[in-house]
């Protein structure tokens, strides 16, 4: 039971990150009817941007000292007589990194937003109204372009990136077993959930959110009601690429920066279809369910089985409910 709880918690934490990635896919689909197969590679760019601004820039010769490691006197004093891996030491280490973490996040958000806008402008807009096939394959082509470009810019070098939150270990007894959690992981989950909730609320209650929903409902009517549809498109892409940047930064701290991050996009694509393409709630349920299932599979069957879970799940769900758990059915006329 204790073991089960441990892995269920692990699963919820990765499920939250899936949800954060999925929200970008759903938003773009709602606004533009495009499903972005290359979303994982946008996330990878987010991770690399975070790495650039949080590690490479502070290391540069012209960067001020405090950016690399901010150590005011009081902190050095407090740190001095703490053991290496104590909780308070972890918090202090995190605070020393805080300036570059913030710079990294800001850089990742801005650069990824620009990248999203660029893709929308140059590639997506000319393809409006084309077939599903063309749209899918265009984003598939984008995968190769993005991963090639990332390899040209950043040679895939192994590097640590600073965690977004203090990485204090948390352990407690429950049902006769010790539960281990990483502090940074817990914080990542909260960040992901907060952003997810914020976006859902934004789409529900704000003006631009209503514009997105109206465009999703009927493009030409939205146009005639004075909504600037192109602006809605580019907003949706910016939303997707910025949430992707945060997800990328989180994944970079968990798993390291590498081109392999792009593969997350495919698992999340499966999750999104499983939940229903246009339902935030359905996608949230699917993300959490797949996260927990993956963790439990990892526990019972081993690491190599976990990777296959989203694909099996989506196949089963699609066969039973062709439009996902909570997706709305498309009506076709001849």
């Amino acid at each position: 039971m204790g073991q089960f709880l441990q892995f269920a918690l692990n699963g919820l934490m990765s499920g939250a990150i899936y949800a954060l990635i999925a929200v970008g896919l759903v938003s773009v689909f709602k606004a533009t009817r495009v499903v972005n197969f290359a979303h994982g590679y946008l996330i990878m760019f987010g991770a690399y941007f975070y790495f650039t601004f949080a590690v490479l820039v502070p290391q540069a010769a012209w960067a001020p000292e405090w950016l690399q490691s901010w150590r005011p006197d009081w902190m050095v004093e407090m740190r001095a007589d703490l053991p290496m891996f104590s909780p308070l030491a972890a918090v202090l280490d995190w605070m020393a990194n805080l300036p570059r973490i913030l710079l990294g996040l800001a850089g990742a958000l801005i650069c990824n937003a620009l990248l999203g806008m660029l893709i929308e402008r140059t590639l997506m807009r000319p393809l409006m109204g084309q077939s599903v096939f063309a749209m899918i394959m265009l984003t598939v082509g984008l995968i190769s372009i993005l991963s090639g470009t990332a390899q040209l810019i950043w040679t895939s070098d192994a590097a640590f990136v600073p965690a977004l939150a203090p990485n204090t270990p948390i352990r407690f007894e429950m049902f006769g077993a010790t539960i281990f959690l990483f502090g940074a992981d817990l914080a990542n989950m909260l960040i992901a959930l907060a952003i997810f909730a914020g976006i859902v609320a934004m789409v529900r209650y704000t003006r631009s959110g209503v514009a997105i929903r109206a465009t999703a409902e009927d493009q030409s009517t939205a146009y005639s009601m004075g909504i600037s549809v192109p602006r809605v498109f580019s907003r949706a892409w910016v939303l997707a690429s910025t949430t992707g940047a945060v997800a990328g930064a989180i994944l970079a701290t968990r798993n390291g920066v590498s081109p392999a991050l792009g593969l997350f996009g495919f698992s999340v694509l499966a999750i999104v279809l499983m939940g229903g393409l246009d339902s935030y709630l359905g996608v949230f349920i699917a993300a959490m369910a797949v996260g927990v299932l993956e963790a439990l599979t990892q526990w019972q069957l081993g690491g190599e089985w976990a990777g296959i879970v989203p694909y099996v799940a989506v196949l089963i769900v699609i066969l039973i409910r062709p439009h996902g758990l909570l997706g709305s059915k498309e009506i076709e006329r001849i």
Binding site: D93, D157, F160, N167, S258, Q298
Partner: protein, 401 residues
Amino acid sequence: MRLNRRQFVVASAAAGTALGAPAILRAQPAEYVIGASLPLTGPFATAGQMVAPALRMFEALNNEDGGIGGVPIRITTEDSGYIPSNALANYQRALATEPNLVMYFGDSTGFMKLVAPELRGANARLMGSTSFASELADPVNNPYQYLPGPSYEDQFDILLNQIRDEGGSTVAFVFSNTEFGRDPIAHGRRTAEELGLRVVLEEATREQGADIPTHVTQLAQSGAEYCILQGYVTGVWPQLIGGARQFGLPTKFMGTFWGMENAIADRVTAEAGPILDGYLGVMPYKYFYDPERGPTYERFAAFQKQAFAGTPLEDYMPTWGLQALFSLQIGVEALRRVADKGLDLTADNAAEALAELQDWDTGGFFGTPVSMVNNKIGTGRVYQYSAETRLFTPTSDWFTV
């Protein structure tokens, strides 16, 4: 003087032989080509990019020494992205386009296994690699491939014996889900059983971008005293160890050759603190900073100071580079012995010459003369990392398995 017909025939045959004989006996090309596939992109790009300049150095130094039998060598490097079929395509392309290809350097366990059955007849070349996979040390089925050190299975045996000697009882294997990672696991399981050790966890991870927190909790739950990591180069293993340390797990970590690079350990220590202190593993060669580094390393050092000034290779050669250099050295040595006998540099002749490398003085790669037995050089040493000195230092003497 008039020649009759018979005299004319004899004379012209003799003249023909005199003119043609050198061409037949000494059909020496202008150069010999050594092809190489390296992971210049992909998950192990860091290693590939540091090995590439080492190959250039090898070419230059060996041509100073007169190449192979007086013929200069040329090394062509291509990228494989650590994808075996790309490396195979590189090899096939080299075979089809380089008539004087005498040797090839492969870059992964996967490639070496993929190419092994292709090495038949005219398609066979002597082949060294970055891999220590045990299957490659098999002169009967696989005469052209060799290992420049002990196999991963040997390295596992050494580490497991070390654990037993220290009085440990439980061990976890954490490995990347690649051929490289999986290679010694089954054998390690058997050895552990023989030694009375309990394998409490066998965890497969991705070779890069692995889900570290989940794997660390898995390790924490298993309660293993020792953990052997296999199948990583630059990523994953430091993060795993770091995660375990932050949790305060008492597990002792061990690694095989590819997890023993000093530069990576230093980078991790600089970024994440002294998490790697006490990490232990098998490395066949002397580290480049070894106090008694011998003539070969001295020569490398002099060359590097000049040619690689301003790069990380100026004062240091990573273990990966040493492995590639030594691997090529074995091949070239074998080919030289073939050339000295006046034979053609075919793969079969080279494979025979490989077996003749006995009690060979490598000029300082090892602290002892080494022998090629069953297409592998089973000599090595156990080193331990200290975060204080930031060096791997030997904890055992040279051993040969």
